[in-house]
Amino acid sequence: MSKIKVIPCSGIGKVFGLLARESVLMVTSEKCPNDTETLCLAHVVTGDDEVVGKIKGETCITMDGCAKYCAKKSVEETGGIVVKSHKVPDFMKAHRGEEHGSGTALTDDGWKYAEELAEILVEDVKEIKAEVN
């Protein structure tokens, strides 16, 4: 199977977008570089033939920063098959009261949370691969 596409929203206004972005980069660059890759969401949403060719019919995981679900919706509209979809605030319960940083930089607690989000994505990747094999 081709590499699983893992796509964050990278929203710029709040820390949630950066948490989504950093957790995905951990997965595609460090934790599962042979099984995953990311695509520019900005390119996906343009609907260019080039990016449609990369994503249409492909297995995708999205990590959104807010309930607008821009990554999930955009990937689906471009023809990607979103088999797992997450939203950063969904996992906040165990992190109440922590300060995670801003849209520019994460704090130590922010990095720990990003690491936790990345592990959730890694489990998704393992699950998807297990189903294929």
Binding site: P8, S10, G11, I12, E22, T38, L39, A42, T46
Partner: protein, 135 residues
């Protein structure tokens, strides 16, 4: 006075270094160079069209900050709202090959990267100041 009625949209591309630079340049503008004077818009939300972003870019000058020569942010603004008031292509500032290098986590930023961010933010501020001067 346009004040915070000037929009700045970065591509924040996830596939290359230029996307990281574009994002951080816009954040630097928001926090350090023009605090309280710009409105930043999420590009995916802008294109989805349900957050009022398109209406903002139709009414007010908006600057696109793109990480590579695909210029996704600029093209999106012009497709869905209006001509951009200005655009910055990180690839023209740091070179196409450098801009297309692997994406970078913010924890791996070096002084060299921060210099790229500064140059991109300065260029964006220059466009911002030109817009203000025309009004």
């Amino acid at each position: 006075m346009l004040g915070n009625k000037i929009g700045v949209i970065s591509c924040s591309g996830e596939e290359c270094l230029g996307g990281t630079i574009s994002r951080l340049a816009v954040r630097k503008m928001m926090e350090e160079l023009k605090p309280g004077m710009v409105s930043t818009l999420c590009l995916p939300l802008f294109i989805a069209g349900d957050g009022g972003e398109r209406e903002f870019a139709e009414k007010y000058p908006t600057i696109a900050v793109d990480g590579c020569s695909k210029c996704c942010a600029k093209r999106a603004i012009e497709k869905y709202s209006n001509a951009v008031a200005g655009s910055v292509d990180v690839a023209e500032i740091i070179g196409a090959a450098k801009a297309l290098e692997k994406p970078l986590s913010t924890r791996n930023l070096t002084d060299e990267h921060m210099e790229y961010v500064k140059q991109t933010a300065d260029k964006t501020c220059q466009i911002f100041d030109e817009i203000i001067a025309k009004k």
